[in-house]
Amino acid sequence: MTNSPFTPGIAPARLPQEALAENFADLHAPLDAHEALVAADRCYFCHDAPCITACPTSIDIPLFIRQISTDTPEAAAKTIFEQNILGGMCARVCPTETLCEEACVREAAEGKPVEIGRLQRYATDTLMAKGVHPFERAAPTGRKIAVVGAGPAGLACAHRLAMKGHDVDIYDKRAKAGGLNEYGIASYKSTENFAQAEVDWLMQIGGITLLTDRTLGQDLTLGELQSDYDAVFLGMGLAGVNALRANGETREGVSDAVAFIADLRQSTDLSTLPVGRNVVVIGGGMTAVDAAVQSKLLGAENVTILYRRGRDAMPASRYEQDLAASKGVRFIFNAMPLEVLGNGTATALRCEYTKVEGNSVQGTGETFDIPADQVLKAIGQTLHGSPEGLTLDGAKIAVTGAGRTSLDRVWAGGDCASGGEDLTVTAVAEGRDAAEDIHAALSDA
């Protein structure tokens, strides 16, 4: 190894292989059987449990935990998968601290909720490790549905449709299925190629054909899909990235955090991935935290998250913020980028402090520079190239009910559709519910 965290500029191999392997191991080690029993014993089996209400997919959490506590994790997994076929990934990436675990009555009682996420992982891992797929397809209906986007929304939709006996073709512009599960989530949340393993396991239901490297608007059009299929589900996510609108945005060293994370997720040798000595991540969401933490874990000396509002307004949960802080990431709140400084290549970021008045964020006039040879933009994604004819709600596809768009027999869900938080678990719920609605609509026809 020739490089270190102190090597100037953007450089690979800042840390030895062993350190990288350790840094990118499972963020939370899986529970072993005994730990799972101990954790499960803490569940009170609440009546009409608040955790179920808090779960976007409404998993019957007390029931699956009771099934774990009685030594039937396979039954627990089925309880989970009935509501959320991507329950394995959600167990890893859900911000449980703002969902089920925040609602857990033990959080109210003692500030220590039942470890629902880890228990869910224990159950789903147990069943998936056996290679068992717990669902069977209904008799073939002869109907065919196109799903655009093989991310959480599309996969959930396709699986539920396949279960109902329909045939499904999933189109995705990338080389692999999984969407953000495969390309957009921090490595330490989805180790050992889990996203692909989950897709393979999900496909065991049968009746789903995966067509990759097909981009809507280039290789296929919505009109073609409408004429070739009985129904269409759009779940292609948000392919565009918001612009920084700061001077010097084109200097070398400035890039999108989502691309950085995608490269990292696809890397087979982390020591080949270049990372800056001084990294600044702009934004306040999960993507910003994932990019910042992973920069630090790759060996960047200084990593700063710059967020234009205060800590309380930050979309990333307090838990995520603390995780970042524990890895050595520095937060600067109430500041925004003005200009990327440097001669062709970024060397520093000029920032301005902000004040929030009402809903608007304004500069105070006071500026400061921070060293930055890598600037990662994580200021939100946008729907890129929405198919013609679809009514939009703001920047997203407008939907009503269970994902119905303005076009007949076209549904949408996940990040590209209006409403809902942009979470994996929300996307799963929307895909699943759209599938039920599609099935009902086709059955009535």
Binding site: L37, D48, A49, V105
Partner: protein
């Protein structure tokens, strides 16, 4: 620090905590370490008649049930009485008693129901200097198949007979250990008293099968695919033991007969409850088997603190709760309570609601924001909500004062005591004389 010195049948021990006759008291090595740890006395594991020692199984002897985090709640065993030669046990008993004269040394005995057998062993025990004997009339497995242990304990006339033999033969106090595997524990207790027993000790273990292996269909513990009913003990049996102690303590025929309380004593609080119901001391086994001899330190410090806080002596505590044990027919039917939920303590789990709704009374309402409130007009004060609530003290049963209206019956609460014997619905009601 309260004085924990105990005097049971004139047998002095530095505290009222004895180790019960069981595996921990089977040999000198163990008993001496127990004494070093601070135990007040031991009942040496049951000796049998002279001759070839008994044999034990060579597979598992214990089965268990667990609570959360594998906390051992109940243990059962199929171990028999001591399988060491009689003379070895006697020699060690004598040696230990000589070295630890301030500790109680009781010897448990179980020999065939023949007068000669008892007459043969008693002088040997007496010669050790032991303070008393305990007749094992309770062991429910193995020995009972040979007409001993629980087989004797289930036949009051046999209890009376062997007790009398012992009293006629030895100067040592005689404690009769009773089996709970019987319909009414007062019958064997009365028989022991009739035979001249100085005290009874109870309970011995309860016949039990702890679990069934659902792969092999063998009861546990499994010996080569078969199981046998073992003796159940541990925290789970305490309520049964407490009741049996109280039944004997309040039975006019046995009132005043000293009782050594046994059955699931795990903490100082358990011990205090046995004492309050009339036990003169307690014997402990499963807790020591589970956690080791050291627990006696907590038993001593806890009981001592409690007595200090209450301003009571140990003797004050013994039997303090006995007068409050009564028959159902004498319970005050004019004592009216209602459940009260402390909304600040409530964590909104809804278990009270589910229990009340599904058990029968529908006396708790649930609002959209998960506020749970008691409907006084429906609440029968059953206490189930208190029992299922995970938050200590969140739900309490509050007494209605005399004159307050009970919304369930629509009647004001009477200040008079009234019970079933005088209730108009009781066909046997005797009109109270005006």
């Amino acid at each position: 620090m309260a004085d924990l010195t105990s005097n049971f049948l004139g047998i002095k021990s530095p505290n009222p905590f004895w180790l019960a006759s069981a595996p921990p008291t089977d040999k000198q090595y163990n008993v001496e370490r127990a004494f070093e740890a601070g135990w007040g006395g031991v009942v040496w594991k049951t000796l049998g008649a002279e001759g070839p020692p008994v044999v034990n199984v060579n597979g598992p002897r214990y089965g268990a049930i667990y609570g959360a985090d594998r906390r051992l709640l109940g243990l059962n065993n199929i171990e028999l009485i001591t399988d060491r030669p009689l003379e070895v046990n006697l020699r060690e008993i004598k040696e230990v008693k000589r070295k630890w004269p301030d500790r109680a040394m009781i010897v448990s005995l179980m020999v065939p129901c023949e007068e000669e057998a008892w007459k043969a062993i008693l002088p040997l025990v007496e010669e050790t200097g032991a303070d008393a004997i305990e007749l094992n009339c309770g062991c429910p497995h193995g020995m009972s198949e040979r007409g001993m242990g629980a087989a004797v304990g289930q036949a009051p006339d046999l209890i009376e007979m062997i007790t009398r033999w012992c009293k006629q033969t030895t100067r040592m106090p005689v404690i009769v250990k009773l089996t709970p595997n019987i319909t009414d524990v007062r019958a064997p207790a009365r028989a022991a008293k009739a035979g001249g027993a100085d005290a009874v000790s109870l309970i011995n273990t309860i016949s039990s099968i702890t679990s069934v292996n659902l792969d092999t269909f063998s009861p546990e513990p499994s010996i080569d695919g078969k199981g046998s009913h073992g003796g159940y003990c541990g925290p789970a049996v305490k309520p049964i033991a407490l009741n049996m102690v109280a039944e004997i303590a309040r039975d006019p025929e046995t009132a005043g007969l000293p009782i050594s309380g046994i059955g699931g004593v795990t903490t100082w609080r358990d011990a205090a409850e046995f004492l309050a119901l009339g036990a003169g001391n307690v014997q402990v086994c499963t807790a020591a088997m589970t956690y080791g001899f050291k627990i006696v330190e907590e038993l001593k410090s806890g009981l001592s603190q409690y007595l200090d806080e209450q301003g009571m002596s140990l003797d004050d505590l013994v039997g303090r709760a006995t007068p409050n044990v009564t028959d159902w027919q004498y319970l005050n039917l004019n004592y009216v309570t209602k459940a009260r939920i402390d909304q600040y303590a409530c964590i909104k789990c809804g278990r009270c609601y589910a229990a009340c709704e599904d058990t029968s009374h529908q006396a708790i309402s649930m609002s959209a924001d998960r506020t749970f409130e008691v409907i006084d007009a429906e609440c029968v004060a059953c206490n189930l909500c208190v029992n299922v609530c995970p938050v200590d003290g969140c739900i309490t049963m509050e007494e209605l004062a005399a004159g307050e209206q009970d919304l369930r019956t629509g009647k004001p609460v009477s200040k008079e005591y009234a019970n079933w014997t005088t209730h108009p619905n009781n066909p046997a009601t005797v009109e109270a004389a005006e």
